[in-house]
């Protein structure tokens, strides 16, 4: 099983920090215009949210794993709900590599695998180095072509 790049934790923590900041802003707004919120309480709530977010990010990194198995791409992920997904190569419609501005700064990239399914139709593997992402994309594409099923949805 392959883990994600450790730097993905930074990305997730950054996302949490943004969320905590938004929460703080909302609380400040409530304090200003609606009900007075004690400053200690405000700081406390934001701090708790931030700590929970960081703990979540660290745990999620520990849990996230994927593997190219004989017939399928296999992934394990999820802190609250733990999900083990198998995406058979025959079912892969196309594969993308993507990276957003924050991911780019951190030197990370994601691979998104699309199937014709209805739910979980796209499976995202975040936190890969650009090289690894491109290699994974190529491998998946080759495996998908190799195992092409002629059943045309």
């Amino acid at each position: 099983m392959e883990s994600l790049h450790p730097r993905i934790r930074l990305l997730w923590i950054a996302q949490t920090a943004i969320l905590a900041a938004v929460l703080g802003a909302v609380l400040v707004a409530v304090d200003r215009w609606l009900v007075p919120v004690p400053t200690a309480g405000l700081v406390g709530i934001v701090a708790v949210a931030a700590v929970l977010g960081i703990a979540y990010a660290v745990r999620l990194y520990q849990i996230w794993q994927f593997e190219l198995q004989g017939d399928a791409l296999y992934l394990e992920r999820g802190v609250i709900t733990f999900v083990e997904t198998a995406v058979p190569f025959v079912r892969v419609q196309h594969v993308d590599t993507q990276f957003g501005p924050v991911e780019r700064t951190l030197g990370l990239s994601s691979v998104v695998v699309y199937t014709a399914g209805s739910r979980n139709a796209d499976v995202r593997i975040p936190g890969l180095t650009p090289d690894r992402a491109r290699k994974l994309q190529d491998t998946l594409r080759e495996l998908a072509v190799e195992s092409e099923a002629d059943d045309a949805v």
Binding site: D71, A72, G78, I80, T81, F82, V83, E84, T85, A86, V87, P88, V90, R91, T115, A116, G117, S118, R119, N120, A121, V123, S147, A149, D150, D151, A152, V153
Partner: protein, 546 residues
């Protein structure tokens, strides 16, 4: 390339004319207030000009709209200024539907839509062709779609014999069996799947007789009816309120909405609620009746074809090769009288808003529906396994929590409103054990030789048969609570697009080992089924969607 029926020119002219007359209307109205040179008196003239422009556009649109059948693709070219020409390969076509509204039936016209798996709407819509042209198109496309996948000699000969007959694709209602079909005495054999010896290319599989149609209408509740009644209420609020007040007066309701005491308002509320429920139910019955009136399902070569509708007539075809899964549905009422319905799911979008799901048998005796499903999929009679007994405990806890929320809500309401005896809300706890039990007993799954069968739901129970061959992804999901109890849910995703109303088929709350076992089996059987199909294709057999 062909053109649409000339009447379409009139329709398009009217449609675009009515659309375009508003543009100068609003422009002049807005400018008249601000710019001195523009006068409101111009309105009649500019509106007429706008209409003429729109009508001209509509007529040009008609002349620029072309469609045609080529050996490999179905082509549609359209657009006045920006041209779009679209070629749809036959092998990608999911289904071809023909729709006729009331006026269109009088005029002998129809709308043809072609669906593929991608996108949110129809890939091609031919607005108004003659009914005979619609049938010809449906038949031609269907034949070519079947022809693409088939290179076996058997199919080729059957196609050749078909070609010999000119326009042999008679509409279903011209069948002789229709004549002796009287509503009072539906022959029992009518509903059985059987071969029509006189009609080699078209096999009648099912026809909904009047008894079944009535039972189906009476036992099905449609959310659309609720929406319709809500919509009506929104637009005629005052009239309806007056009407409701009048109706409640014989039972002690208030004289009008302003004067009344607590008791008369209470009576008004109760009576209006009963009225609302009855009216919604009647609308739902009428809707179902009109939609599924004279439903019949047949099979032509490799396609299922169906027809239905009282006012608006639908006819569609589903290639058997494209069927993703098959679902048997029933609700408590239908279970009571031992009836059920059968749906087939494809990856395309159907003529209803219900996604790629088409009713194959709206309603029939449960035993018959099961036999039908077994014939359709070749699935063996499933021996359902129940989820882990722990699951029942889990539902007990879950529903208790919901009941606790209800009681808490009543308590909160008692703080702000004069609500005495709020603790009577605790009676909802009495419903918890039966609810948990019912949910549990209706869950079931069966890991078969070639299929996975999943049953779930009490109010609308669904038994879905998924050929391993159609699996897209499999996921084992475990929430925090499930992990603590050592159970898991298995989500089996297929390419059918019915997800807005129906959840993805899921085996809920089975022991982790069973879930993992089913997960492995699904993956393994998918691969072996694929290999088998590849072999069969090489050998030249035609394989059904199983």
């Amino acid at each position: 390339m062909n053109r649409l029926h000339p009447f379409s020119a009139v329709v398009y002219a009217l449609r675009y004319g009515l659309l375009w007359l508003w543009v100068p209307f609003f422009l002049v109205t807005a400018l008249a207030g601000t710019v001195a040179a523009v006068s409101i008196a111009w309105l009649p003239v500019v509106t007429a000009l706008g209409f003429l422009f729109g009508a001209a556009y509509g007529i040009v649109y008609y002349y620029r709209f072309e469609y045609g059948i080529t050996p490999d693709t179905f082509d549609v070219a359209s657009g006045v200024v920006a041209r779009r020409s679209r070629e749809i390969p036959y092998r990608r076509i999911q289904n071809v539907d023909v729709r006729q509204g009331v006026l269109q039936r009088v005029l002998g016209l129809a709308v043809v839509t072609v669906e593929t798996a991608g996108g949110g709407n129809s890939e091609a819509a031919l607005q108004l062709v003659s009914k005979s042209e619609a049938d010809r198109l449906q038949h031609q496309i269907r034949r070519r779609t079947a022809g693409v996948d088939a290179d076996d000699p058997d199919r080729a000969t059957s196609e050749a014999s078909e070609d010999g007959r000119p326009l042999d694709d008679e509409p279903l209602d011209e069948q002789p069996s229709r004549v002796d079909r009287t509503p009072e005495t539906p022959p029992a054999s009518e509903t059985r799947p059987r071969r029509e010896p006189t009609e080699p290319s078209r096999k009648r599989l099912f026809a909904l007789d009047s008894r079944e149609l009535l039972l189906y209408s009476l036992t099905t509740l449609r959310p659309a009816a609720l929406a319709a009644v809500g919509f009506l209420f929104f637009f005629a609020t005052d009239t309806i309120l007056d009407f409701l007040v009048t109706l409640s007066q014989p039972f002690g309701g208030p004289q009008d909405l302003q004067t009344g005491d607590t008791q008369s308002y209470g009576v008004l509320t109760v009576v209006s609620m009963i009225n609302g429920i009855v009216i919604t139910y009647l609308v739902s019955v009428a809707y179902t009746f009109a939609t599924y009136y004279d439903f019949r399902l047949g099979r032509v070569d490799e396609d299922f074809v169906y027809e239905r509708g009282l006012l608006q007539r639908y006819s569609g075809s589903i290639p058997a090769e494209k069927v993703q899964s098959v679902t048997i549905t029933d609700n408590p009422l239908q279970r009571l009288i031992d009836y059920a319905g059968l749906w087939v799911e494809t990856a395309g979008y159907g003529p209803d808003s219900s996604g790629g799901s088409q009713s194959a048998v709206p309603m029939a005796r449960a035993a018959h529906v099961h036999r039908f499903a077994e014939n359709l999929t070749h699935v063996e009679t499933p021996a359902f396994a129940s989820p882990s007994p722990i699951a029942r405990r889990r539902y007990l806890v879950r529903y208790s929590l919901i009941a606790a929320v209800v009681v808490a809500a009543a308590l909160a309401l008692a703080q702000v409103a004069p609500l005495e005896r709020w603790y009577l809300a605790a009676v909802v706890f009495a419903a918890v054990p039966p609810a948990a039990h019912l949910r549990y007993v209706h869950l079931g799954y069966y890991v078969g030789e070639d299929h996975l069968v999943i049953r779930r739901g009490f109010w609308r129970r669904r038994t879905t048969v998924i050929p391993y061959f159609r699996i897209q992804t499999v996921s084992t999901r475990r929430s925090v609570f499930q992990r603590r109890l050592g159970i898991a849910s298995l989500v089996v995703d297929t390419a059918s697009s019915r997800t807005l109303f129906w959840d993805t088929p899921t085996i809920y709350d089975v022991d982790l080992e069973d879930a993992r076992g089913a997960h492995r089996t699904g993956r393994k059987r998918l691969q072996s089924a694929l290999r088998e199909r590849a072999r069969a294709d090489d050998a030249g057999f035609s394989v059904d969607f199983t």
